[in-house]
């Protein structure tokens, strides 16, 4: 076992660091959070730079335009990107992390040549239409219908939690193509262009006031049958193929952000006066910093274990679920600590006294994105109990 970079990894790290240093410095100021057109063009510009330099689709196979990097190189790239304060994947998330890999695995040659390049260059943004108001944890109960009519599917229904829908060019959709089959069997995976008639996008404001979420209301949207990925009624399997691409790097970006928030919070505690000393001098607060620091270091080590296993060609069963539950707990605890450090300054979501207090209050609320998104903590606990520990199903 090792933590040192191998010779080739060290070489890769220094190349990446060099490129990032020059490139990040050349970027314009990032747009405001709610400036959607600005964010789209900023993220697309960054993705274009990655593409030109050969870093786009870093973990995608090279025959599909990616770099074909190892999981360890992918981790190094993400570490160096954070250290250089490079932009994150932004609105490219669904395309690069999910839709693209799914098309690589299950798409036809025509579908691959039509869609993959746009994802890699940043020209096309994607969103995800999986969850529905009545189908959250029980996703396979989804009811958005797609009727076959000639060469089209005619889609009607409602989708929810569709991040970046207002900016996306395409939506990866799960729809029910066989209403007589319950659950997993009658579902298909479709590519839906977002400029079609019948799509109504309505923003859904989150607890921290951001508008990246949206609901999709679909009224007889006609999508060509050629946009079907995989076989009709085989969409559940298609949606799960990306799980086999997971190599332990899925939460690295979030973990880097959290570590950075943790360090900001230490700096704030040390510079904030309280009772004639500083907040850092409060024993109970320092103790909690110690526990959370240990937890963050452990989450990094857990990530490195998972990436190491990924480099051997697979994940340990349950490791993704376990990471997510532990990470959510740490995030919530860090949010609680932020409020203790800020005290009355936490009453404002905008920065107070010229310090980054708003970001810290936001991070407290953002913890719910980890404990709820992509399968709640309780669903992850069920997965671990049944698939790792072998406990019997409830029914």
């Amino acid at each position: 076992m090792h933590l040192r970079d191998s010779e080739s990894d060290a070489q890769f790290r220094s190349e990446v660091r060099e490129w990032l240093r020059g490139t990040v410095a050349s970027l314009p100021e990032p747009p405001a959070t709610e400036d959607w057109p600005g964010r789209c063009s900023f993220d697309a510009h960054w993705q274009g730079l990655l593409f030109e330099a050969g870093y786009a689709g870093i973990n995608w196979p090279s025959e599909h335009g990616g770099r074909g990097a190892t999981p360890t190189e992918h981790l190094i790239f993400l570490e160096e990107s954070a250290a250089a304060k490079a932009p994150d994947v932004g609105i490219g998330f669904v395309g690069q992390m999910h839709a693209g890999p799914t098309i690589i695995a299950e798409g036809t040659e025509a579908q691959k040549s039509h869609h993959l390049r746009g994802i890699l260059t940043g020209d096309h943004a994607w969103c995800q239409g999986f969850s529905e108001p009545g189908s959250g944890s029980d996703l396979a109960s989804l009811r958005t219908r797609a009727f076959r009519d000639g060469d089209d599917y005619v889609i009607s229904g409602q989708k929810i939690w569709t991040s970046h829908a207002m900016a996306a060019d395409y939506c990866e959709m799960l729809v029910r193509t066989d209403p007589n089959e319950l659950k997993h069997k009658g579902i298909s995976w479709l590519i839906m262009p977002m400029n079609l008639p019948g799509i109504d996008v309505r923003p859904l404001v989150t607890v921290h006031g951001s508008t990246e979420f949206a609901e999709l209301f679909l009224d007889e949207v006609r999508v060509p049958v050629s946009n079907l990925i995989g076989e009709e009624n085989d969409g559940w399997r298609v949606a799960n193929v990306t799980l086999s691409f997971e190599r332990g790097t899925g939460f690295v970006g979030e973990l880097l952000d959290t570590t950075s928030v943790f360090r900001d919070l230490i700096a704030l505690a040390r510079s904030t006066k309280r009772n004639g000393a500083t907040v850092w001098d409060v024993d109970g607060i320092r103790h909690e910093f110690g526990i959370l620091g240990a937890d963050l270091d452990a989450l990094w080590a857990f990530t490195k274990r998972n990436v190491s296993q990924g480099a051997r060609g697979g994940m340990v069963m349950g490791s993704g679920s376990g990471f997510k539950v532990a990470f959510a707990t740490t995030q919530h605890r860090l949010g609680d600590l932020a409020i203790r450090v800020l005290d009355r300054a936490s009453l404002s979501l905008d920065d107070v006294d010229g310090k980054p207090t708003g970001e810290l209050v936001h991070s407290k609320l953002h913890a719910f994105a980890i404990s709820l998104g992509g399968g709640t903590t309780q669903i992850q606990q069920n997965i671990i109990a049944e698939r790792v520990l072998g406990l019997p199903r409830e029914r």
């Binding site: 040390r270 620091g293 989450l299 671990i384 019997p392």
Partner: protein, 324 residues
């Protein structure tokens, strides 16, 4: 970077796990705590496996592996609650004659600045190792006056209180004391990590077999979530324990002190919380002497005090982060 065990390391873990279940089944573990219950023959078998000299160079009679290998072995030993002065023997095997082959039994004390001088396995020991700020000393155990505790909190960790520490002979200076405290702390944390696996396995097996309301209690979500949390705490603990072990071998990759203290925090939490969950899952039977669940909790309570407390560890992690 590679933070998963190699095939050789997996084979080592399997070998030690197999040995422990064969030669240290739970009734043997329990008997070690009884008066005159220390079985020197079994201790010698454990020594003959190479347990205490894993990270010693071959020229010194050791196996010549890395410190992380010792960490993995202590994890396996902790999982089976293997008794005896494991840390004392592993730390001193290269410096005190007879420890490596098990013929000399050491006890160890990190001399406290205040409070009682409690020493595990002192009553069976031949030599006493004393870790102080100025270095490490060794004395025949007969030179120390100790009172054996009749009821040790952990029945499988017999303990004595010393009136004072004897002068002894210096076997290493302050650097050795620092190294032993660091390594001893991590080996105790490795045993805590293993302990958390052992209690989780016991609880999961019971949850599959015990039926109430006409079905196995492990089918209820209330228990599933408890046990999933146990598994997660173990994975977190072993992640930090492994990382700290590798950092002792590769000290240039980060702060070893922060990693070792972090490992204590995550491993102590995993061991104590998982053992409590194990007792809870066993219901009323978990509260009885005959069910083994309490042995995990009581061993965890001992180990979390060895070479530093969780409060010390939190203070160290916080301050090293702030200084970084």
């Amino acid at each position: 970077m590679d933070l998963q065990p190699t095939d050789d390391q997996l084979a080592l873990i399997e070998m030690v796990t197999g040995f422990a279940s064969d030669r240290f089944p739970i009734d043997v573990v329990r008997s070690f705590g009884e008066p005159n219950g220390f079985d020197r023959d079994r201790w010698t078998e454990l020594a003959a496996l190479g347990t205490f000299g894993l990270a010693l160079p071959e020229g010194e009679g050791g196996v010549g592996l890395d410190f992380i290998d010792a960490v993995l072995v202590h994890e396996a030993l902790g999982s089976a609650l293997v008794p005896g002065p494991l840390l004392a023997a592993t730390l001193s095997a290269g410096l005190v004659d007879g420890v490596l082959d098990g013929s000399v039994l050491p006890a160890i004390v990190d001399i406290p600045h205040d409070g009682p001088i409690m020493v595990e396995y002192f009553r069976s020991s031949d030599v006493l190792l004393m870790v102080g700020d100025d270095g490490v000393r060794v004395a025949p155990s007969a030179h120390a006056v100790g009172i054996d505790i009749v009821h040790s909190t952990d029945p499988t960790s017999p303990v004595s209180i010393l009136e004072s520490v004897p002068a002894g002979d210096l076997i290493g200076g302050p650097e050795l004391a620092v190294a032993w405290r660091q390594r001893g702390s991590l080996l105790a944390s490795a045993q805590l990590s293993g302990n958390s696996t052992g209690s989780t396995n016991l609880a999961v097996a019971y949850a599959k077999e015990r039926e109430q309301f006409g079905r196995p209690i492990g089918s209820f979500q209330g228990l599933k979530h408890l046990l999933a949390d146990s598994w997660i705490r173990t994975e977190i603990a072993r992640s930090s324990v492994w990382a700290a072990g590798v950092m002792i071998d590769e000290p240039d990759v980060g702060s070893v002190d922060r990693a070792v203290s972090g490992a204590r925090l995550t491993a102590a939490r995993a061991a104590t919380e998982n053992a409590k969950t194990c007792i809870q899952v066993h219901g009323g039977m978990g509260f009885t002497w005959e069910v083994d669940a309490h042995l995990f909790l009581k061993r965890a309570w001992v180990l979390e005090t060895v070479f530093g407390s969780v409060d010390d560890a939190a203070e160290i992690v916080a301050n090293l982060y702030a200084a970084d």
